[in-house]
Symmetry: C2
Subunit: 153 residues, 2 copies
DNA sequence: CACCTTTTCTGGAATCATTCAAGAATATGC
DNA sequence: GCATATTCTTGAATGATTCCAGAAAAGGTG
């Protein structure tokens, strides 16, 4: 992962000051991709002892603005963040537990960007969200939805 | 638009009671696709005289649950709703003004659903959001950002 | 057609994520 | 080392959405 080799250098390259909260956030995102603000705060606090929620929001905004971090926001779930990796990947979101995983689009590096360039919009990005059920949730909900315990005849 | 021929029948078919707020919401969505809750409330109130915000939310939830209405939620914007049409279309969202337009995916009726079925998720829907600039915003921001009116030499 | 049950609507308050504001602390260039 | 611009802290505000309990209305039934 070229992204994590030197967070300090990456911050400097982006013209951002190197601060402890920023390094902590980057470090956390390296370990937990798709984390939400809450998880990031918790993990960062575990590392630094204390960080304000504002600082986390500000850091994420700054990192997102320079493109070091990417913000994803699946419907119905708070914003999540991931280290920006060069490749053009998308996400699968679990309908029941909200888990997110990366998915490389089947069409190579520039998937689906060829919308029938409708309505005069100039399109610069195609974001694909796959909705489904994650392995864990599939396992616990065998076929249809049945809450009745096994032993009930 | 087969969807609008008889809202009453559609409600009945879906097993929902026919109430004035529901008819109003459907009627409004027929005229303003991609409306947010606020616009829907306003338009519905203009028609019925008075409707509580709750009623609007409840109606939208009920209609969405039975599939008569589809909820879309582009990042950074409140939820928007559209009458569920059978075809599998996607949306272009304008980055500066938030305008939304429908886009038929270039791949026919089941676009991009062929994600490299990663991580064991069972995928049932692919949602594509195109991000760009709408004609109006493109026009007012000619090349770089310039607010200077045309007549200024 | 009147009645009864279920579902829906009203009004008000609560929640969650996110943002705003003003001052204190800190990183960086000279 | 110091000055200054940027970043972090604390505390409160905002906006969308949901929860709650009671009043009203819809639709099937006798």
């Amino acid at each position: 992962m070229p992204m994590l080799t030197d967070p300090v250098a990456h911050l400097r390259d982006a013209g951002l000051r190197v601060t402890r909260p920023r390094l902590a956030v980057i470090e956390v995102l390296g370990r937990q991709p798709h984390a939400d603000v809450d998880s990031i705060s918790d993990a960062a606090r575990a590392e630094l002892g204390t960080v304000s929620t504002q600082a986390i929001y500000d850091v994420l905004k700054a990192l997102t603005a320079v493109g070091l971090v990417r913000r994803i926001e699946p419907a119905g779930s708070p914003a999540r963040f991931e280290l920006r990796v060069g490749d053009n990947h998308h996400h699968v979101v679990c309908r029941s537990c909200g888990a997110i995983a990366d998915v490389d689009c089947a069409h190579g590096s520039a998937p689906c960007l060829t919308a029938s360039n409708d309505h005069g919009f100039s399109i610069d990005e195609a974001e694909v969200t796959y909705w489904g059920t994650c392995p864990d949730c599939s396992a616990s909900t065998t076929s249809t939805v049945r809450q009745i315990p096994e032993g009930t005849p």
